[in-house]
C-alpha cells in the first residue's frame, strides 16, 4: 500500500472525528455567545430551579440552588462524595421534593430519563427489563423493539441474551441502566456517574450516544467525578461546594484566554501551502520535516485553521485536544 493510500485511509477515519470536534466547538461558541446574550431562565427553559434547597432533618444538603436548562444544553455537576450531586439530580427529576424554593417544568408531561448511580441486579434479562420500561412509558411495541436493538448494538451488549441481570458485571449493568434512561428519547436526561464501571470503548460509545441525543435537542445533566474533556467542552460545569452550586466558567474562560486549550495536528502539507497558512495564522506553532507537519493550534483559531488546511489539500493524520499550561 502506498503512502498516499495509507494517508487517505487515516484521513477518512479521522474525518468523522474532526467533524465531531469542529461541531462541538461551534456548539461551544454558540453556547458561550448565548450565555452572554440571554438571561438564564427564559420561557424556553425545559426546567428552572429557583432558590431550591434540600435538608434532611437539621442537615442542609443543598441551599439556594438556582438553575435553568434549555433544550440541547449540557450540564456537568462535580463535587466530592456526599456533596449533594445525586440529591440535585433527584430534585430535578422530581424523585424527591425540595425543602424550599420552586422547580418549574416546561410541561407536566416533560419526558425525563434518569440513570441512578447503579442499577440493582434484577432477575430479568436486559431485553425483558427494557421492554417493561418501554411499555410502562407508553412506547409502541414495534418502535420499542427497534430501539432496544439499536441501543444494545450501540453499547455493544447482546440484545437477545438469555442471561439474567444478576449474572451481569458492573459495566454491563451500567449499560442497561443507561439504556433504560435513553429508551424513550427523553427531553431531559439525568445521569448519575454514567461512566462508572465502563471501559474506554464503552465510554466512547456512550459519548457518541450522548452527543447524538444532545444534537437532537435532549438536555443532559451528568454528575461526574473523573475529567472528561470531550464532554466538558460542550458542557457547562458546576461544582457543588457546601450545598452551593458554583459555576466553573471562570476556569474555562481563563483557560481559553490563556490559550491553554490547544489542538495538536499531525498531517501532510506542501511547503507552499504551509507558508500561506503560517502567514494567515501567526499564533500557530509549526514543526515540519518535508511535507510532514505538526501544528499546535490555539483553541480559538482551530475552526478557521482546519477549514483553510482542508482548502490547501492538507491531509490530517491525527488531531488531539490538549489542555494545560503551555
Amino acid at each position: 500500500m502506498g503512502i498516499e493510500a495509507f494517508c487517505m485511509q487515516i484521513l477518512n477515519m479521522n474525518k468523522n472525528c474532526i467533524k465531531m470536534v469542529m461541531k462541538e466547538m461551534i456548539v461551544l461558541n454558540e453556547r458561550i455567545k448565548k450565555k452572554h446574550a440571554v438571561d438564564p431562565g427564559t420561557a424556553a427553559s425545559l426546567i428552572r430551579l429557583e432558590q431550591v434547597g434540600k435538608s434532611y432533618g437539621s442537615r442542609k444538603v443543598l441551599s439556594e440552588i438556582s438553575l435553568s436548562l434549555d433544550r440541547g444544553e449540557s450540564l456537568i455537576l462535580r463535587g466530592g462524595n456526599g456533596s449533594g450531586k445525586s440529591t440535585l439530580l433527584k430534585l430535578v427529576a422530581g424523585i424527591i421534593p425540595a425543602s424550599s424554593g420552586h422547580i418549574h417544568r416546561s410541561s407536566m408531561q416533560l419526558q425525563m430519563g434518569y440513570a441512578p448511580d447503579r442499577l440493582p441486579k434484577l432477575r430479568m434479562t436486559s431485553e425483558e427489563y427494557l421492554i417493561h420500561m418501554g411499555q410502562i412509558g407508553g412506547m409502541p411495541m414495534a418502535t420499542l423493539t427497534t430501539r432496544i436493538e439499536e441501543l444494545h448494538e450501540l453499547l455493544e451488549l447482546p440484545a437477545h441474551s438469555p442471561s439474567l441481570l444478576i449474572h451481569y458485571s458492573k459495566g454491563m449493568l451500567q449499560k442497561v441502566n443507561l439504556m433504560q434512561a435513553c429508551l424513550l428519547r427523553p427531553a431531559l436526561l439525568l445521569l448519575d456517574e454514567p461512566f462508572s464501571g465502563l471501559d474506554t470503548d464503552s465510554s466512547e460509545k456512550l459519548l457518541t450516544l450522548l452527543h447524538g441525543l444532545r444534537a437532537k435537542g435532549t438536555a443532559v445533566v451528568t454528575a461526574l467525578h473523573d475529567p472528561l474533556p470531550s464532554w466538558e467542552s460542550v458542557s457547562t460545569t458546576y461544582r457543588i461546594r457546601e450545598g452551593q452550586l458554583i459555576l466553573e466558567e471562570t476556569d474555562t474562560n481563563e483557560a481559553l484566554n490563556a490559550g491553554s486549550i490547544r489542538y495538536e495536528l499531525d498531517g501532510l502539507l506542501t511547503e507552499e501551502a504551509r507558508a500561506g497558512l503560517a502567514a494567515a495564522f501567526p499564533h500557530v506553532d509549526w514543526t515540519a520535516a518535508g511535507n510532514a507537519v505538526r501544528c499546535e493550534i490555539p483553541s480559538e483559531d482551530c475552526h478557521a485553521f482546519m477549514h483553510d488546511f482542508w482548502q490547501a489539500d492538507g491531509i490530517v493524520l491525527s488531531l488531539k485536544r490538549k489542555e494545560g499550561a503551555i
Binding site: 424523585i95 434518569y114 420500561m133
Partner: protein, 239 residues
C-alpha cells in the same frame, strides 16, 4: 396500568417473595381441612382472618419489591409515583384475592365442609375474602421502608395494628364509657368475622355491612397512603 401490573408481576414472581406468605397460608388451610367435616361459614370466617394477615404480608412485600434505585427509574417511566404505587397496591390485592378465592373454593370442591355451600354463601364468602384482602393490603402499604426508617419497626407496628384489629371487640368493651367510638378507627375486621360466624341469623343489610365498611376503610386507607406518597415521593427516611 396493565404494563405496570405485568412488570410488578414479573418482579414479584422472580423475587420469590410470594413464597413464604403463600406457602404458610396454604399449609394452614390444608392442615385445617385435613379433617372434616367443617362448618361452612365458620370455616370461611377462619380462612378470611388468616387471609387478612397473609394479605398484609403480601402488601408489604409487593410495595418493597423494587430496590430504591430501581423504583426511581420505574417512577420516571411511569411518570407518577401515585400510578406506580397504586399499581403495586392493586397487584397485591389481586394476588391476595386469588388466595382468598382458593380458600373459598378448595374446601367446597374437595368436600371438606359439612355440606356443599349455597351459591349465595359462596358468593358472599368470596366477597368477604376479597374485601379483607384489600383491607390487609391497604394497611400494609403504610408499613414499608418508604415511610419507616427501619423495616423491623415497620413490621412490628404493622403486627400491632393487625392485633388491634383482631381485638377491636374486646378493646371496645374495655374502654371507659363514651370512648368506645375509638374502635371505629380500627380496621373493621371484626364486623366480617361476626357476619361469617352468625351468617344464618343476620338480615341482608347486616350481611352486606361488613363488605361496605371494609371496602370504604380500605379505600380511605389506600387513598391517604397514595396522597402521602405523592407528597413525600421517594424521599426515603433512611437517607
Amino acid at each position: 396500568m396493565i404494563a405496570l401490573l405485568q412488570y410488578i408481576h414479573r418482579c414479584f414472581m422472580r423475587s420469590y417473595r410470594y413464597g413464604a406468605p403463600s406457602f404458610i397460608y396454604i399449609a394452614i388451610l390444608m392442615l385445617i381441612y385435613s379433617s372434616g367435616p367443617n362448618p361452612v361459614m365458620g370455616s370461611y370466617a377462619f380462612s378470611s382472618s388468616i387471609l387478612f394477615v397473609a394479605a398484609a404480608a403480601i402488601g408489604c412485600l409487593v410495595m418493597d419489591v423494587e430496590a430504591a434505585n430501581q423504583e426511581m427509574a420505574t417512577m420516571l417511566h411511569a411518570r407518577s409515583l401515585v400510578r406506580l404505587s397504586g399499581a403495586k397496591l392493586l397487584y397485591a390485592w389481586i394476588f391476595a384475592s386469588s388466595l382468598g378465592l382458593f380458600a373459598v373454593i378448595y374446601p367446597a370442591v374437595l368436600g371438606r365442609l359439612e355440606r356443599f355451600p349455597s351459591w349465595e354463601e359462596l358468593g358472599m364468602a368470596s366477597l368477604y375474602h376479597i374485601s379483607l384482602a384489600g383491607l390487609g393490603v391497604s394497611l400494609a402499604g403504610w408499613f414499608t421502608v418508604k415511610l419507616f426508617e427501619s423495616r423491623f419497626y415497620a413490621v412490628l407496628i404493622l403486627c400491632t395494628w393487625l392485633a388491634l384489629a383482631f381485638g377491636a371487640g374486646g378493646i371496645g368493651n374495655a374502654l371507659p364509657e363514651g370512648w368506645s367510638w375509638m374502635t371505629y378507627l380500627l380496621p373493621p375486621l371484626q364486623l366480617t368475622l361476626h357476619a361469617l360466624t352468625f351468617y344464618d341469623e343476620l338480615g341482608t343489610g347486616a350481611k352486606w355491612l361488613p363488605v361496605g365498611a371494609t371496602v370504604v376503610y380500605a379505600a380511605v386507607s389506600a387513598t391517604l397512603l397514595l396522597w402521602t406518597l405523592r407528597r413525600r415521593r421517594l424521599d426515603y427516611p433512611g437517607e
